[in-house]
């Protein structure tokens, strides 16, 4: 029954989306058909399909292959729900759901668009929907039925049975797929042919929204890896992580270049290119993740036909959009030349650095794939490559980022600027020195990281004080400006977090018997007891550690080692004590005789990684909300 409802909904949706796409032919007619009803119906049908799949998961309807392969009656309810997107088919359905949801948002709430432009944009959005629905129906249908109905399912990969998973993919998809609407906006604009400031104003909120959710989605995934994989790291330069970082970098560049287009009416072709690239990279990301070409926890399926199908979708969108741009680029007139000492000059620098980083990550990610294809040699590119290159690129980017928002448009004078930077430089050096003085065990490069973070932090704060006349003019503060301040401060805090977490981390691996203790910085951890635990669908052991600081009891930490019998799969549940400035992290490994192996981390500033990311998200949303409510 559920399968029938699901399939019928998908078929209705694909027909509707195709019909909407055909409307492009009628765009020259005097009366343009309003797309609102069609788009709402598409949204309704996909939503129906999505919820019927969710229903099948909740009631454990194992007559559906997808539910059988990824669920189990003993699984907790939350993971029955989130299990819907914990597999290839379901996650593609979520992809399309977000796709039509964005169309729906535009058609209902973006009142700034005139009818022909709106129709055209939504028709291109429908084309994307159509192609992805075709993909789902032909090669990844979640509603395939099996008979006879199995008694119980195969359960979900236990690593994915975690609250982090519940929220990571939907947020990431809002970001990824949100870039599709920017793409549709851009393609549709070629009909009008004028890529002016008003166009920049139209796409800006949607770029902001996608960017914000991409930020949130990536950081949630990184947070999940931090406490669930038991390695104590937050980023591994895994190809799948890179796949999400590439569209993020592109969207960051786009975010800033639309600013130039909006204010100075230039960088048109570049902005169009970035809009195309952003969506292309979210497609390439989907391809890398979903095709099974790379090994990872995200690579659910390794069915080659799917890979080829997604590759064809990528190629179609990328080539057609770039050919369009190449053909039309002659008719797009750029207006002004740009002086290097000006806001637009710094933004161009930001764009170059973002794209350079994008390229280096792209090379590092796909080089192994190509090499294997052509020579058969199997290689992997190690994290040192990514660490070194990203530091080299982000360093200058952060240096400029601190004062870029303060510079005037058009032209500013260098001497005046430098004199304003004196205070900031002094404060940042002071902070760096204090760090050096009170707590220095790491390499020198760590001080550079702290300096950069402080430099950005104070620069942004200075700008805020200047604009508000030292907090006297808070009332009519522009929300877009406030959003920028919050986001940039977030980046500063994030940089400090990354520096502390990667360069100052203290790691100890110890074998302990009950009653023994381990010293970690100023803390002492007493291994108090170990007990057996039993969850709804797992068994395992839980250790209890009492955490003391200078003989003062602070907290009991309980790391776990779980075993999920259905999938014969062990997991590590790290125990983390976070106190704002640092994390104490315990991961439990295996027993030897009477003792257990543990991994301990003291990671300073690590919580700041998430705090900074959340601030960047909030900043983006602030700016978005201001822009979307402001009519042109």
């Amino acid at each position: 029954m559920v399968a029938i409802i699901g399939n019928i909904s998908l078929i209705f949706a694909i027909l509707l989306s195709f019909y909407q796409f055909l409307n492009i032919r009628n765009i020259n007619k005097i009366r343009v058909l309003n797309p609102d009803r069609n788009i709402s119906l598409q949204f309704f049908f996909i939503l129906t399909a999505f919820f019927s799949l969710m229903f099948a998961y909740v009631v454990s309807d194992f007559s559906i292959l997808n539910v059988y392969q990824n669920s189990h009656t003993a699984k907790p309810l939350l993971y029955k729900i989130t299990g819907v997107w914990g597999n290839h088919e379901g996650s593609m359905l979520l992809w399309v759901l977000v796709l039509v949801f964005f169309g729906f948002l535009i058609s209902r709430y973006d009142k700034r668009l005139d009818l022909p432009y709106k129709t055209l944009t939504l028709s291109f959005q429908s084309l994307i929907t159509f192609i992805f629905l075709l993909f789902i129906l032909l090669s990844s249908n979640p509603f395939v039925v099996i008979s006879p109905t199995p008694v119980n399912g195969q359960d979900l990969n236990p690593l994915l049975q975690d609250p982090g998973l519940a929220f990571h993919p939907p947020n990431l998809y809002i970001g990824y797929v949100g870039l599709s609407i920017v793409f549709s906006f851009t393609i549709a604009r070629f009909y009008k042919g004028s890529f002016d400031a008003s166009w920049a104003k139209l796409i800006k909120p949607w770029v902001l929204l996608s960017w914000s959710f991409l930020t949130l989605g990536i950081s949630l995934g990184s947070w999940w890896a931090y406490y669930e994989l038991g390695w104590g790291g937050f980023w591994f330069w895994d190809p799948v992580e890179n796949a999400s970082l590439m569209p993020w970098l592109c969207a960051t560049a786009l975010l800033h270049s639309t600013l130039v287009l909006e204010k100075r009416n230039t960088l048109k072709k570049w902005t169009i290119l970035l809009a195309f690239l952003s969506f292309s990279f979210s497609l390439i990301g989907t391809f890398l993740v979903r095709s099974g070409i790379i090994t990872s926890v995200h690579a659910f399926a390794s069915d080659p036909t799917r890979g080829v199908f997604i590759l064809m979708i990528c190629a179609f969108f990328i080539f057609s959009s770039f050919i369009l741009l190449a053909k039309k680029s002659g008719s797009i007139k750029e207006e002004k030349l740009i002086s290097p000492i000006s806001k637009e000059g710094t933004i161009i620098f930001n764009n170059l650095l973002m794209v350079a980083m994008l390229l280096t990550i792209f090379i590092g990610t796909i080089y192994p794939i190509f090499l294997e294809m052509f020579t058969g040699d199997q290689i992997s590119v190690g994290p040192p490559y990514f660490n070194l290159t990203s530091t080299l690129i982000m360093g200058p980017a952060i240096l400029i980022m601190s004062f870029a928002p303060m510079i005037n448009w058009k032209k500013d004078d260098l001497v005046g600027l430098l004199s304003r930077l004196k205070t900031i430089l002094f404060l940042s050096l002071l902070v760096t020195f204090i760090f050096f003085y009170i707590n220095f065990q790491g390499p020198i490069i760590a001080l550079v990281g702290i300096f950069l973070a402080a430099w950005l932090f104070f620069g942004t704060l200075f700008n805020f004080f200047e604009k508000t006349k030292y907090l006297k003019k808070l009332k009519n503060l522009n929300k877009t400006f406030l959003g920028m301040i919050v986001a940039h401060l977030g980046v500063a805090i994030f940089i400090a977090g990354v520096t502390g977490s990667t360069l100052w981390k203290v790691e100890k691996i110890k074998t302990l018997k009950v009653g023994e203790k381990v010293l970690l910085n100023n803390y002492s951890l007493n291994f108090d007891k170990i007990k057996k635990i039993r969850g709804k669908n797992y068994i395992g052991h839980e250790a209890e550690f009492n955490l003391y600081k200078k003989n003062k009891f602070i907290k009991t930490l309980k790391p776990q080692k779980r075993f999920y019998p259905v999938q014969e799969f062990p997991t590590t549940e790290a125990a983390i004590y976070s106190r704002g400035l640092s994390d104490i992290y315990i991961a439990m490994s295996e027993p030897i005789d009477n003792s257990w192996i543990f991994r301990f981390h003291y990671s300073p500033l690590t919580p700041w990684i998430w705090i900074g990311s959340i601030m960047a998200f909030i900043g983006g949303i602030l700016s978005f909300s201001h822009r979307i409510f402001k009519r042109i």
Binding site: N157, L159, G230, G292, T295, S296, V297, A299, S302, L337, I338, L352, A356, L359, T360, I363, G364, Y367, D377, Q378, I379, S380, V381, G382, P384, Y385, L388, T389, L392, I393, I509, T511, Q567, E568, F569, P570, T571, T572, A587, S589, E590, I592, I597, R599
Partner: protein, 136 residues
């Protein structure tokens, strides 16, 4: 300077900056590539002293010997075996008879691993291992 000339210089400097970055990074890339071998392949290759590589295969049954956090085990591709020594915590899914990948150096025919990676999923064999094992 005429605007045309100015534009030329801007584009030229941006382009050379770009080439410089890409060039530097390709050099860094060269130093950070890990080649992947099976035990049979690694024995045939003449590895340079201190060349870091990846070794993949199956953990041989009954080969794991523990001494506190020092672990020795054998990786096999069902033709040749390599003994591996490692110090640290093994990943959750490390098991005898299952696929594994180690990063490290080959010294006197013993592989000193700095990292041990096991697959994420019970039903899933890393394609790089699977392919090589199927070829045998």
């Amino acid at each position: 300077m005429t605007p045309k000339k100015k534009r030329f210089y801007i584009i030229f400097s941006a382009f050379s900056f770009f080439c410089f970055i890409v060039g530097t990074f390709l050099i860094i890339l060269q130093d950070n590539i890990l080649f992947f071998y099976t035990p049979s392949e690694i024995l045939q290759k003449n590895l340079k002293q201190n060349e870091k590589v990846r070794l993949g295969g199956l953990v041989e049954e009954n080969s794991v010997v523990r001494n506190n956090i020092k672990i020795n085990f054998t990786i096999t591709d069902l033709k040749k075996n390599i003994e591996v020594s490692y110090e640290g915590i093994l990943p959750d899914l490390f098991r005898e008879g299952q696929g594994v990948i180690v990063n490290g150096y080959l010294k006197n025919n013993i592989f000193e691993a700095s990292e041990v990676l096991a697959k994420h999923d019970e039903n899933y064999m890393p394609p790089e291992i699977k392919k090589k094992l199927e070829l045998k």
